[in-house]
Symmetry: C3
Amino acid sequence: MLLLTLDLLGIFVFGVSGGLLAVRNQLDIVGVLVLATATGLGGGLLRDVLIGAVPPPALADWRYLAAPVAAGVVTFVWHPAVGRFERVINVFDAFGLGMFVVAGAVKAHEAGLGPVPAAVLGSITGVGGGVVRDVLVGRIPTILRHGELYAIPALAGAGVVVLGLEVGVAQVVIVFVGAAVASGWRLLALTRGWTAPLPRAAGTSGS
Amino acid sequence: MLLLTLDLLGIFVFGVSGGLLAVRNQLDIVGVLVLATATGLGGGLLRDVLIGAVPPPALADWRYLAAPVAAGVVTFVWHPAVGRFERVINVFDAFGLGMFVVAGAVKAHEAGLGPVPAAVLGSITGVGGGVVRDVLVGRIPTILRHGELYAIPALAGAGVVVLGLEVGVAQVVIVFVGAAVASGWRLLALTRGWTAPLPRAAGTSGS
Amino acid sequence: MLLLTLDLLGIFVFGVSGGLLAVRNQLDIVGVLVLATATGLGGGLLRDVLIGAVPPPALADWRYLAAPVAAGVVTFVWHPAVGRFERVINVFDAFGLGMFVVAGAVKAHEAGLGPVPAAVLGSITGVGGGVVRDVLVGRIPTILRHGELYAIPALAGAGVVVLGLEVGVAQVVIVFVGAAVASGWRLLALTRGWTAPLPRAAGTSGS
């Protein structure tokens, strides 16, 4: 029950980021709801399709659809207020990221994938929704651009989980460690303005 | 046989809309055929992948590939004439939308999905091809933008079908009601210029 | 062993093209690695998801992930040098295309698909990675635009393979013929500047 609540909360927070991007692109209510849902559920759906877990749980339990739709409605109605809380949302988003990559890595590992693919699928679970969101509004996904550190903490958290499971650490322990690594690193990157390295020559022009 | 004919006709009409967009983006014959096919089959493929109905029927029966390819060829050769019939195409497209959402909702319901996800998958069947089409030419999908009402009639039609099936209405009846709701509402929106609501502040700038 | 080596080489070359595009869009290390991986594995993943071969082999064998990551790292570190070898990369890419479409067509045929869908899936295996790559940086996929001939040689090579398998030609023979058709035609198109036809009127404005 706690896990489900945390999971739905993560989806809600991701959904708000999708809804805000829709509002800023002057999309209408359909755009806000679709972007909130695609952002909240996209990463998990990508993972489920790739490991063959279809129909995905997100389509079997109505609460998984209700969470991003609620996020979309909240953003649609109160977006000026929601936009002012962007720093708070970024913090929640970092916690959502930790939860998503851990859940994704555990699920991929249980599906019998090797450690490297399981870590990759865990990361995809965390960052995939944001990629779908950005592609839908025609911008290069933020995780690919030079700016904030996001995908590397995700991969690190997923990697810690898979490594722990492989060497036999109890799942209840390793999921907390993995989530702490992903969320903690992401929060530090937010606070300190850490970024990922650029290729040499391109560094002079910026983006 | 009637159902198959209607289905292929719907795919053809959707394919024409993809082909026209390709011509307008100065794509070559490959672009026209790929966009026609992606628009005609994209929604159904998305649904089939999400419910695990793979390989999708659209890949098992050659006629499902022939229909959008024919649409692409027709558009490639006669696009100035085809473009002049855009109002007629919009009407056919509205009928195609009704057929797609109804077929998608019934299939998702038969796959054992609950009512809400089945209605969502029905809508995805109707609007998914257009989303793929728009993403491929790098524009924000029309269904997300403030403009014409498209996704809401789709969801309404799919919702009516699923609701009817849940309460035990005969499938042969409810599919007609659902298609009439989706296509009829879409046609009314076309004629009357109905749009979906925008978030408050964004309404002042437009798109 | 030879087949695996050739396959990984093809993925590596495709990965380099993704990595170079990332560098030219001033993406950071994450962008370079993700684009290299998406380009190298995207076509095969699309095929596997569509025929239900999940989890895809590319996620079950770590070498399939190592190849595009290596391509990304090489491009990230030595991109000025790599960029100078673009003509050489184009030649390798043509060989990669031949291998991909042949492997994709054989796999789709073995999965029980009919000849036309199997040829289409073979082509998707060859060109899908490039489409994903281009969508991720927000440009219209090169295979759709008027420019170089790429998708038609791919479809021709896949078609030859499927036709040969249908009429009973030995697989070991037909895969070489199919790869030669796809790669050879692509190489000729590169050298001679062949392009695919444009729709009539659009030809006057260009892109």
